[in-house]
């Protein structure tokens, strides 16, 4: 199953890669970009909403349907066709193909933060700054705002965020007398103690997840990817990265990680029966646990992400926003819809009630939100921990302009170190080599 799935992913990434070649070629010929869209101001957006029209919106967010319905109620002249074109990478492949083909892309599209630079640098997204949406900066947390600004352009608006925290199964911790780890050294010790006490239980499951690894490097202070236009630097052996591998290698080489693939039915099962005792993951996880692991109600708690030296610091994991594509025939209307979608309280309320974690500071600071006692988490005010994590996210992180491809080959490179229980640094070095080669083949100038 997993082999077949990774084979499909690989094939898909090949398709995406083939498509990327074309878009980069298009990019280099039209540098400067943005000339095609008319631009305008906030009043233009209001006028567009008044005038109405038809939009296509690609999203896999469960709340999208209710949000679109609420939008159409508020603006009856606008007709939004919601299409679920696939979950994350599948959607990106389709978007990339549509961009390459020159038609078929939607007006508004959901893109996760890690994939935004890829579409932004291929000049496929409208600069929303031209519609005055840059004024919304104060409304979003710093890390999410940074993620939608690429190369000096505002290429999307944040929808959610995923500041990382430590989710742990308190029932299991109590059973074996394990204290909640505050540092990574304590976390490794907890992993050893737990597995020694009950060999069927593991501190966590990790078979090599690129999103997790990059977030962990982010927290450790590593900044392995830098991009300035088409000049890219990759250094997966910087100090921060090695700080993370120093800790995680102990778990990988010590056989202290469950080999259950993330998001599989077994994984959900492990979260329910205590065999996977913690998750270091984005703040959007409570909604998933609540709806999909109902049997473990009352078992789980949230704590701040462990640190290296006691100073609180976090990273973003997952989350994303929406962008307007350059293929949109009505970019002003699309931008107006996007403005409503990710800043209107009516829309955000729908989003939050579906279990999403906000990117908007008003909600992150809202006492009702922060002090909410979660029944699933035994009455804990989990949002106190999670909103604090959002403030602790360290700045200056960026993803590669071909991060979607990079993540697709993570399993073949770093994943091998996980599978064999060997040094992660070797796996990261292989990953880096392949990324440098690929980037140069694609027309970037990598590590030159």
């Amino acid at each position: 199953m997993s082999i077949a799935r990774s084979a499909v992913r690989r094939t898909l990434s090949v398709v995406a890669a083939a498509a990327l070649i074309g878009t980069l070629a298009a990019c280099s010929s039209g540098t400067g970009g943005g000339g095609s869209d008319a631009g305008g101001s906030a009043s233009d957006l209001d006028a567009a909403l008044e005038k109405g029209g038809k939009l296509t919106y690609w999203s896999w967010t469960p709340s999208a349907e209710a949000q679109v319905a609420a939008f159409e109620d508020a603006y009856p002249n606008v007709d939004v066709e919601l299409v679920n074109a696939g979950t994350n990478t599948e959607e990106y492949t389709k978007l990339q193909n549509a961009i390459k083909a020159g038609s078929g892309a939607p007006d508004v599209v959901q893109i996760e933060y890690y994939a935004i630079p890829q579409f932004a640098l291929s000049d496929s997204l409208v600069d929303l700054g031209a519609y005055g949406l840059g004024d919304l900066e104060d409304q979003y947390s710093a890390s999410t705002w940074g993620a939608v600004n690429v190369g000096g352009k505002l290429v999307g608006l944040p929808q959610d965020s995923g500041p990382m925290a430590l989710f742990y199964n308190k029932t299991v911790f109590d059973q074996y007398g394990i204290a909640v780890p505050a540092t990574w050294d304590e976390y490794v010790q907890a992993a050893k103690d737990l597995h020694a006490a009950d060999p069927s239980k593991y501190i966590t499951a990790d078979t090599g997840d690129s999103g997790f690894a990059t977030s962990m490097i982010w927290q450790a202070g590593g900044r392995p990817f830098e991009a300035d236009g088409t000049n890219v630097t990759i250094d997966l052996a910087d100090e921060g990265t090695q700080k993370w591998t120093g800790v995680w290698n102990q778990l990988v080489e010590g056989d202290l990680l469950s080999s259950t693939p993330g998001w599989s039915d077994e994984w959900y099962k492990g979260l329910g029966d205590g065999s996977i005792a913690t998750l270091v993951i984005g703040a959007w996880m409570p909604g998933v646990l609540e709806s999909s692991v109902p049997d473990a109600a009352g078992d789980w708690r949230v704590a701040p992400m462990p640190t290296y030296d006691g100073t609180p610091v976090a990273a973003e994991n997952g989350g994303g926003g929406q962008s307007v594509t350059k293929q949109s025939e009505n970019p002003a209307l699309a931008a107006a819809f996007l403005r409503w979608l990710n800043s209107d309280p009516a829309s955000i309320e729908v989003f939050l009630s579906s279990g999403g974690f906000p990117a908007t500071t008003a909600d992150l600071n809202d006492p009702d939100f922060v002090n909410l006692e979660s029944e699933y988490f035994g009455g804990q005010k989990i949002n106190e921990v999670l909103t604090q994590a959002s403030k602790d996210v360290s700045s200056g992180w960026s993803y590669l302009p071909y991060q979607v491809y990079a993540n697709s080959i993570f399993g073949d490179t770093v994943g091998q170190a996980y599978a064999n229980g060997t040094d992660l640094n070797d796996g990261l070095a292989t990953w880096q080599d392949q990324l440098v080669d690929y980037g140069n083949e694609q027309g970037f100038s990598v590590n030159k």
């Binding site: 083909a101 039915d265 329910g272």
Partner: protein, 318 residues
């Protein structure tokens, strides 16, 4: 065949080691030169081997059947190859059929459309072309032969991306045509009919029909097509299965779920379990998979008698 008999006798000898020498000598004396199909010899080793294959093929089906009766929570908490306390198969089927306003039924209908038009059309075209190539002499036959053989060698997946770009130029992506048109081409089916028609449709018969004044089309539809029936059914089965299971082409051609076939739709349901705002519906994915294979199983059981006669036809000169 001789090697097969030898293997059989070797196994017999090994199996009969414990028996008395006289018995094995007596059996040796009556050993027929060729094993008769009327009194097939039993072989423990081959029965075992066959048993392993049967288990290998059936275990996933059994797993599917058992797990389609469980709730999502039951899937996570019970042993995979046995039933959970709750038996919710019918509830799962109902949920599968009604989830997201019955999108599964829509996918089912799409798949049927692609199969009926795509596989049916492919079979018709393959039959016409294969028959024509087998029974008519014209210049360029060899070239056609080479092209067809070459086409068999190229996997459809390799052509998917160029096909996508071409169809997108034509404005056909995200329409049913993007699935149906490529499905109409079956080089393998054409080759099969061609080879089959050479032997099963006697040229003398066609000449006789022509002498009696029947046109080529009448000859084809009243005489040849009946003789070709087993071959046609075989090709139909192949193309039906290929179209029913078609995954990669619709995956890249279609972005709107309303035109998805079941394969891509089920994958979308499965992918829903991943990442931010994950909504796993594994019970529906499993029940949906079970419902998806039912028509294929029925098609096989219904058509297999044609298929068997197709396999043996022409093997003996009459």
């Amino acid at each position: 065949m001789s090697t097969l008999t030898e293997v059989m006798t070797t196994t017999d000898a090994a199996g009969g080691r414990g028996a008395s020498g006289t018995r094995s000598r007596r059996r040796g004396a009556y050993r027929p030169k060729y094993s008769s199909p009327l009194r097939p010899r039993k072989s423990v080793a081959f029965t075992l081997l066959m048993g392993i294959f049967v288990i290998y093929s059936l275990v996933p089906l059994v797993w599917l059947l058992i797990n389609a009766t469980k709730t999502q929570a039951g899937l996570f908490s019970s042993f995979g190859l046995w039933f959970d306390d709750d038996f919710v198969l019918f509830q799962n089927i109902w949920e599968t059929l009604t989830y997201k306003d019955g999108i599964f039924l829509r996918w089912f209908g799409n798949t049927l459309l692609y199969v009926v038009v795509g596989a049916g059309g492919a079979t018709l075209l393959a039959t016409l072309a294969g028959y024509g190539l087998a029974k008519f002499r014209f210049t360029g036959r060899k070239a056609v032969f080479a092209v067809v053989l070459g086409a068999i060698a190229v996997p459809g997946t390799a052509l998917a991306v160029p096909t996508f770009l071409m169809f997108s130029q034509l404005g056909l992506t995200n329409t049913p045509w993007a699935i149906i048109i490529p499905s109409l081409i079956s080089p393998f089916g054409l080759y099969l009919i061609w080879v089959y028609a050479v032997d099963s449709v006697p040229t003398e018969l066609l000449e006789a029909a022509r002498m009696d004044g029947a046109g080529e089309f009448r000859t084809f539809f009243t005489i040849s097509i009946r003789l070709l029936a087993p071959g046609i059914v075989t090709v139909l089965l192949f193309t039906v299965v290929a179209t029913w299971n078609n995954y990669f082409l619709p995956l890249i051609m279609l972005s709107d779920p309303t035109w998805y076939p079941l394969t891509v739709g089920l994958n979308q349901w499965s992918a829903q379990a991943t990442g931010v705002a994950a909504q796993p519906i594994y019970n529906l994915v499993i029940t949906g998979s079970l419902l998806t294979i039912v028509p294929i199983v029925v098609a096989f059981l219904g058509l297999q008698r044609f298929w068997q006669s197709g396999l043996s036809a022409g093997s003996v000169k009459q």
